[in-house]
């Protein structure tokens, strides 16, 4: 996402329209961008502004919002940080798992897949584009008592071994849902890799591990960073996976938000958490931009 943010405008520049004045006046231009601007304003900026304003208000006696100016909601949110920590931990672990699974796979795809590459990539994309809800609930069966859970239970001898409702189940869902987002940038950075570097490294007597550490990994690093951002950011706001595979027992920020807004009808409290979540995302992205700018020489920016 962020990567595109960098490239799209840059790619736009060289092809500036070179026929000024051919389209008469700015009225047409104005009319062209008017509906989209209206949509962004009314359904993105105004709702977000409302959330920010609400986050400084207080809960009305029977729920909802009462005007006020207080930081109480933020203090409350900081004093009950559990969902944030659970989200952070799971997002971090999930991202790490995606790197571990995605890196060898992307390496295989980039260097060893031969001419079936296109098909193999398409096979990654197809499930990713279909309903996540459907693909996620299938794990209820797979991880459920009749299948994996009882099987593991019978092997380890643990009575009533259960996976669903635990953080492990969420992690499976996370890797399952987000792995493609890790694979794509990794694949792109590895596919660009100059294979002769690896050959040179081998000819100079370096072992596989040394070659990986000194050649392949640094080349894959921008892809790892981009992939991690693509996975980490949506993970922080994940709501569906814990709602299905966590049985409501694993409580992420997204789920806390819904409880606050709908069950407790504490709109200001929920708003403060939402603002906090958005801040975390923008901090992450700023950090990411900063990292990338430091190692700018790689052309990773033009990748996604």
């Amino acid at each position: 996402m962020t990567t595109i943010a960098e490239t799209a405008p840059a790619a736009q520049e060289p092809s500036e329209p070179k026929e000024p004045g051919r389209w008469k006046g700015g009225l047409l231009t104005f009319l062209l961008i008017l509906p989209a601007s209206f949509w962004y304003f009314v359904l993105l900026l105004v709702p977000l502004a409302i959330v920010v304003i609400f986050s400084f208000g207080t809960r009305a006696p029977n729920g909802g919002y009462a005007p006020d100016f207080t930081f109480k909601n933020y203090i409350d949110a900081i004093q009950a940080p559990d969902p944030f920590f659970v989200s952070l931990r799971l997002a971090f672990l999930g991202t790490l798992l995606c790197v571990f699974v995605g890196l060898p796979f992307a390496y295989f795809l980039a260097t060893r897949a031969g001419n079936r590459k296109g098909l193999l990539i398409l096979l990654i994309v197809i499930p990713f584009w279909t309903s996540f809800l459907i693909r996620a609930y299938a794990w209820l069966t797979i991880l459920g008592p009749r299948f994996l859970a009882d099987w593991i239970g019978s092997i380890t001898g643990i009575e009533d071994f259960r996976i669903l409702g635990s953080e492990a189940a969420i992690l499976v869902g996370i890797v399952y849902g987000y792995l493609p987002l890790m694979i794509f940038p990794l694949f792109v950075s590895l596919e660009r890799m100059d294979r002769s570097l690896v050959e040179a490294s081998k000819d100079l007597g370096a072992g596989r591990w040394a070659t990986f550490r000194q050649i392949t990994f640094p080349i894959a690093l921008p892809g790892i960073i981009t992939g991690s951002i693509l996975v980490f950011i949506p993970l922080m706001g994940e709501y569906v996976i814990p709602a299905i595979l966590g049985y409501g027992r694993v409580y992420l920020v997204g789920n806390a938000l819904v409880t606050d807004f709908l069950d407790a009808r504490n709109w200001p409290g929920g708003s403060a958490q939402a603002v906090g979540l958005i801040l975390v995302m923008f901090l992450t992205i700023t950090f990411y931009m900063w990292t990338l700018n430091r190692g700018r020489k790689t052309r990773q920016m033009n990748v996604l």
Binding site: M1, T3, I4, A8, P9, Q12, S15, K18, E19, R22, W23, L28, T29, F30, L32, I33, P35, A36, W39, Y40, L43, L44, P47, I50, V51, F54, F105, Y107, L109, R112, A113, G118, L120, L122, L123, I126, P127, W129, T130, S131, L133, I134, R135, A138, I142, G144, Y176, L179, L181, G205, R208, G237, Y239, V240, I244, L257, A274, L277, I278, M281
Partner: protein, 315 residues
């Protein structure tokens, strides 16, 4: 270290290298096998849930998790279920309107943005990415609160006219258009930037009017991106659960909402049958769109940068 140690070290290094050389064939094969094995597992991991859904939709038993025999009856049950009918109808209404509006105003904006000052473009870029980066659940709740507040504000004013604003198809469509609009914008703008400007200029040099140039040069060049944008917007809208669940009203429940309700109550083979049909339908649409994009990318000579844009857009 004493001098005899040096030759010894070199020998060790040399023999070590010799050993690697000697057994390299086997090690290479083993490593290759490892990579292939891991890749196979990844594909298995990605497709296993889909297989489970499809297989258990043919289960004779009414329990979703115990296999007793092959039966097609659940498709009949699903297709004659009035609740499914209603949800399907709602999903179609929402997806068609969303895709049409998002594609139209997205394409218009992409064209308009070509000829605005740089500052406005930067603002638009920011809006596009903010709408993608902010978690869906936050957008959903913010939109819900926004609609609720607006309705509370407007309904007393409108009370004399007999009009009463409420949640329903329009609210779902309005919310869906927002995230699909960004998608269409990305796709069409990528296509515009890759377009061959000389054709447009040639058209002007041949005294074509702007409208004619647009119709005969620009629009045909953009068409693959527009169609792909439409198809993707349609699927994403059709499949959306999070936003829909917050801004839907009585009677406007869509298929994903139906499925989620079933998940909460316990999945049945009927759920799996509905899910299988949705999967088939969306995969069909997406394959068509993907082929279109691949064809576009090949003609443009670039790699699928628009594909990644779509990928980032999901959810």
């Amino acid at each position: 270290m004493s001098s005899p140690a040096i030759p010894a070290e070199t020998t060790v290094a040399a023999s070590g290298q010799g050993r690697t050389r000697g057994s390299r064939f086997d090690v290479d094969r083993l490593v290759d096998l490892g990579f292939r094995g891991q890749a196979t597992l990844v594909y298995l991991f990605l497709y296993l849930p889909i297989l489970v859904v499809v297989i258990f939709s043919f289960n004779a038993n009414s329990l979703a998790t115990i296999w007793t025999g092959f039966d097609m009856k659940w498709y009949g049950v699903a297709l004659s279920d009035p609740v499914v009918h209603r949800a399907l109808q709602n999903s179609f209404i929402v997806a068609i309107f969303t895709a049409t509006i998002a594609t139209t105003i997205g394409t218009m904006a992409a064209l308009g943005l070509q000829r605005v000052p740089r500052g406005i473009r930067v603002v638009y870029d920011a809006l596009t990415y903010v709408s993608i980066i902010i978690p869906e659940i936050v957008i959903a709740l913010a939109t819900l609160v926004f609609f609720a507040q607006t309705f509370d504000l407007l309904n007393p004013i409108l009370s004399g006219t007999g009009v009463k604003l409420n949640f329903g198809h329009p609210t779902i469509i309005a919310a869906h258009v927002l995230f699909n609009l960004s998608l269409v914008l990305l796709l069409v703008r990528a296509r515009l930037s890759g377009m061959d400007r000389t054709q447009v200029e040639a058209s002007y040099d041949l005294y074509a009017t702007p409208w004619r140039t647009f119709r005969q040069v620009t629009l045909p060049a953009l068409l693959p991106a527009i169609v792909a944008g439409f198809l993707l917007a349609f699927t994403f809208s059709f499949d959306d659960y999070v936003i829909t669940s917050f801004v839907s009203g009585p009677g406007s429940s869509t298929l994903p909402l139906f499925i989620f309700g079933q998940i909460k109550r316990g999945v049945t083979p009927e759920t799996n049958a509905v899910a299988t049909m949705i999967l088939l339908f969306t995969i069909g649409i997406l394959l068509f769109g993907q082929l279109l994009l691949a064809w576009t990318a090949r003609r443009r000579g670039g790699s699928g940068d628009s594909m990644a844009a779509i990928v980032a857009q999901q959810r």
